[in-house]
């Protein structure tokens, strides 16, 4: 079993196929996260003579290492902020992260960070090729509530801003990094549903 980054060259796909691929990435990303959890859960110890199957075949990729690093950051931040939230919020945050982080790591950013906001959102900062994207994933999903707010800056100029579902927002960011032309800020004040 060798988990690798999916090829996310979705340029040739139509919209429905692209959406399906994005969902697949998220699902696999979550599955991969669970495998990493298992890998790190000390099921194999130095006392064990027999290595578990998964250790023999599973290799941590650079993306996996980034995922683990960011997950640790989430945990650390939660320890500092937990007094402000109800106890069940951590699970919501973590599940939200498992949905959005694999997608964003698939963009292969130069730099990425995760922060917990005081509005029950996971606030990502992604820097790639001189462009900074703020991807604010609100995990308390309610009817008619936007799920992600995206702001994009280049050379200190805001070049894109909008809010939509996680999948739509990721697709928009992905299109942006693929080099497709974005509508101007004035006409594209809202990501399409």
């Amino acid at each position: 079993m060798k988990l690798q980054n999916l090829d996310t060259s979705t340029r040739v796909l139509d919209d429905s196929s692209r959406m399906a691929l994005i969902k697949c990435i998220a699902t696999l990303g979550s599955y991969r996260a669970d495998v990493i959890q298992l890998y790190n859960s000390n099921l194999h110890t130095s006392n064990s003579n027999k290595k578990p199957y998964y250790e023999e075949t599973y290799e941590l990729t650079e993306v996996d290492k980034k995922y683990i690093h960011i997950e640790k950051s989430l945990k650390k931040q939660w320890q500092e902020l937990r007094s402000f939230y109800e106890s069940d919020v951590y699970d919501l945050l973590k599940n939200g992260m498992k949905q959005s982080l694999p997608l964003l790591l698939d963009l292969n950013p130069n730099k990425i960070s995760l922060q917990i906001s005081y509005d029950k959102s996971i606030f990502y900062t992604i820097i790639k090729n001189g462009i900074t994207i703020y991807f604010d994933h609100f995990i308390q999903i309610e009817e008619d509530m936007d799920e992600v707010v995206v702001n994009v800056y280049k050379n200190k100029q805001k070049i894109f801003s909008g809010s939509s579902s996680l999948e739509n927002s990721y697709q928009k960011v992905q299109e942006f990094y693929l080099g497709e032309t974005l509508p101007s800020f004035i006409s594209n004040d809202e990501l399409s549903q």
Binding site: E80, I112, I116, Y118, F123, Y153, K158, S161, D189
Partner: protein, 183 residues
């Protein structure tokens, strides 16, 4: 400039992205869509160490008119000098006028960031980062706004300040006296 609760410089900034940690932009008890800042210049960086006492808060931690007569606060009675606070800086010109446009179905608004002079009895140089629509300044009580608007404005405020906040400032201009002194 705005003071933070960070003690160490490495706590203030994310090591990966070099952006200010959003938890140091605003605390839960504050309101990111009505954020207090101080104009650097006549008010010097070291003055951030001023901490009002409970008496000082009661007497001085209120908005006032720019020309209000205020009795000068007394050291150790109305305020004390606290430990050095870390802070960040933003150029007003980089955020003033920034827009947020929200549209979902028939629900729509456009808000523009406005850095306003909001003097307080303890500090004439107190300013506020607020948002304004065609109907005026957005009320800072979150309960008065639709939840989705608050969510969007809060997020855009976070992004805006993350993008433009810096932890060091180079030389800066001190505002001309003619701009604030009465004849």
């Amino acid at each position: 400039m705005r003071s933070t609760n960070a003690i160490l410089a490495e706590d203030l900034v994310d090591a990966e992205t070099k952006k200010i940690h959003i938890r140091h932009i605003c605390s839960p008890s504050e309101n990111i869509i009505d954020l207090s800042i101080i104009l650097l210049g006549v008010f010097e960086r070291s003055y951030l160490n001023i901490k009002l006492t409970p008496k000082g808060i009661g007497d001085y931690n209120h908005y006032c008119e720019p020309d209000e007569d205020v009795v000068i606060p007394i050291l150790n009675e109305d305020y004390v000098i606290a430990d050095n606070k870390l802070c960040f800086f933003i150029k007003i010109g980089e955020i003033n006028g920034q827009r947020v446009h929200y549209k979902k179905g028939d629900d729509t608004f456009t808000a523009i960031c406005e850095v306003m002079h909001t003097p307080m009895r303890w500090n004439y140089w107190h300013f506020s980062i607020r948002w304004k629509t065609d109907e005026g300044i957005i009320p800072y009580e979150k309960d008065l706004l639709k939840k989705k608007w608050v969510q969007r404005l809060s997020s855009d405020s976070r992004s805006l300040i993350s993008e433009f906040a810096v932890i060091e400032t180079k030389e800066y201009d001190i505002i001309n006296q003619e701009c604030y002194m009465k004849n």
